[in-house]
Symmetry: C2
Subunit: 306 residues, 2 copies
């Protein structure tokens, strides 16, 4: 992009963000992490024609979705967001959409109470948003802490993003509920802290699909996750199979001991989404994932758009 | 990239890095910032055909250069590197080069004693490396702290990257010294801490060109930087003009009071590169940059490849 256009783009984005952006101006941003807390950091990219196609989403949704996807990695660690950095590569025919993309980034950042602390903009032949999120917590959740006897929970209702992408790919208009789940995911930041505060052992966000992410937990923790497939909460019209393998959910898979004070009704009242027990952790045949007692086919990563 | 290819690429990069990569496996990385220090963070992108062209650099140089460019933002704050995250977007015809790119990233990270703590990989139609660097320090340098009476210093010898790009663009082979400055910059991390420890007030890295970055300091600090153009250290064969405007130097422009114990000979002995006093900070006509007492043309950002 270079010179004048670059500075002008940055100025317009900062104007869009207003007080949501902080401390921008130096070569790097300075943040204070509360004493006693550990820094948690992750980076995530959203690339046109890989993670989305232009006709599917508004510019604001592209910004909001990329930001929530990145923040979801902080949720998986039960960290409180402290700041995000946005690196954008922008083709010429996207330059008119910069403020709307920024508005979407700001919306998701604000919802997670996460200030925007830095960024970078350059030209490219393909639109991409690379978002780095910084958070902190005294006790991060990890995917290697699932233990024998734990109960496995999942937040929300699965299958929407997969159903929306399938409709888009077939040239159809997805149902509005499916579309919203794809276009406007929410990072489960507060939900994760609620669960961690009540004794959850391990968590992962469902970005690759429930079975694939369950397999990550199983391997990291050297346990078996025995999932009751019929218990997996699905949106209306979603098959069990699709709920098990659909990616980009940005819901949480959580493992917690029976002694944890996790009240699913209280969760539903607090957050307006369900928390559902979908299985148990065992040591039989570890590491693996079983559904209804049968070893699930080798879990593979979500393929984005192939 | 998706599924299997993505995990395979990550595995190969982790093997390349060995002990240089740490704590990778969760949704996010966990870092500890020393008590009493502030977190310093920046993100920087290196995009094919914007920041470099494929025939100009080896895959290893692309990785090393992008990493040093990002680390240079920590140097500008005099922060000690604590970790970096690499987000790569990789076209199909670059997949065979991933390990060499990773090797270059590892080389620059190791030189700055910076562990690789996370990353992300996706497919794209254009190669890009977005690198987020995390550092810490008790007292970060800022660009708004230049004060009346300060002496302005610059590290190293300028003009090499600009001369190399000019040769590349003209279809010529740049001289090896010019090429090395473009292809293999070093982030001045240790140099910055040495200067900060001795009382430097303000710093910025010369990524946009000496005059443009001096203007950033002038505006932020509301001062005038009066630069003695003839004193600006230049590589052999580089004009004064080119040394003043050439970008992507990743050297430091530093402002320090006369009382600071900055011994340029000791600097040269310690780091093997010169430290040169090139001007003074005044309040006359602030904010502005003057060269040889004349107001410099309005500084503009470096235009990458236009």
């Amino acid at each position: 992009m270079g010179g004048g256009a670059e500075f002008d783009a940055i100025r317009r984005m900062l104007e869009t963000w207003g007080a949501k952006a902080r401390g921008i101006g130096d070569d790097a941003a300075v943040l204070d992490i509360p004493a006693g807390e550990r820094l948690v950091v992750s980076t995530d990219a959203s690339v046109e024609d890989v993670h989305f196609r232009r006709p599917w989403l508004s510019a604001m949704e592209i910004g909001a979705r990329a930001t929530s996807a990145a923040l979801s990695d902080l949720a998986a660690m039960a960290a409180t967001p402290r700041g995000l950095l946005l690196a954008m590569a922008v083709p010429p025919d996207w330059r008119g959409e910069l403020e709307d993309i920024a508005r979407g980034v700001g919306r998701s950042a604000e919802r997670a109470q996460c200030p925007i602390v830095g960024g970078n903009i350059s030209s490219s032949s393909v639109l991409s948003l690379t978002i780095t999120v910084l958070g902190s917590t005294e006790h991060p959740l990890h995917r290697d802490r699932a233990r024998d006897g734990d109960i496995i929970f999942v937040t929300g209702m699965l299958g929407g993003p997969q159903a929306a992408v399938a409709a888009f790919m077939a040239g159809r208009v997805p149902g509005p509920d499916y579309r919203a789940r794809f276009a406007s995911p929410t990072a489960r930041v507060r939900e994760a802290r609620w669960l961690a505060d009540r004794g959850a052992h391990a968590a992962i966000d469902i970005s690759d699909g429930l079975l694939a992410d369950a397999a990550h937990v199983a391997v990291a923790s050297n346990v078996t996750l025995d999932v009751d497939a019929d218990a997996v909460p699905r949106m209306d019209g979603v098959s069990v199979e699709d709920a098990l393998v659909g990616g980009e959910e940005y819901e949480l898979l959580v493992s917690a001991p029976p002694s944890a004070a996790i009240d699913v009704d209280a969760f539903q009242r607090e957050f307006g989404i369900p928390l559902t027990a979908i299985g148990v952790v065992t040591l039989a045949g570890a590491p693996s994932v079983t559904t209804n007692g049968t070893r699930a086919a080798a879990a593979r990563g979500h393929d984005h758009l192939g």
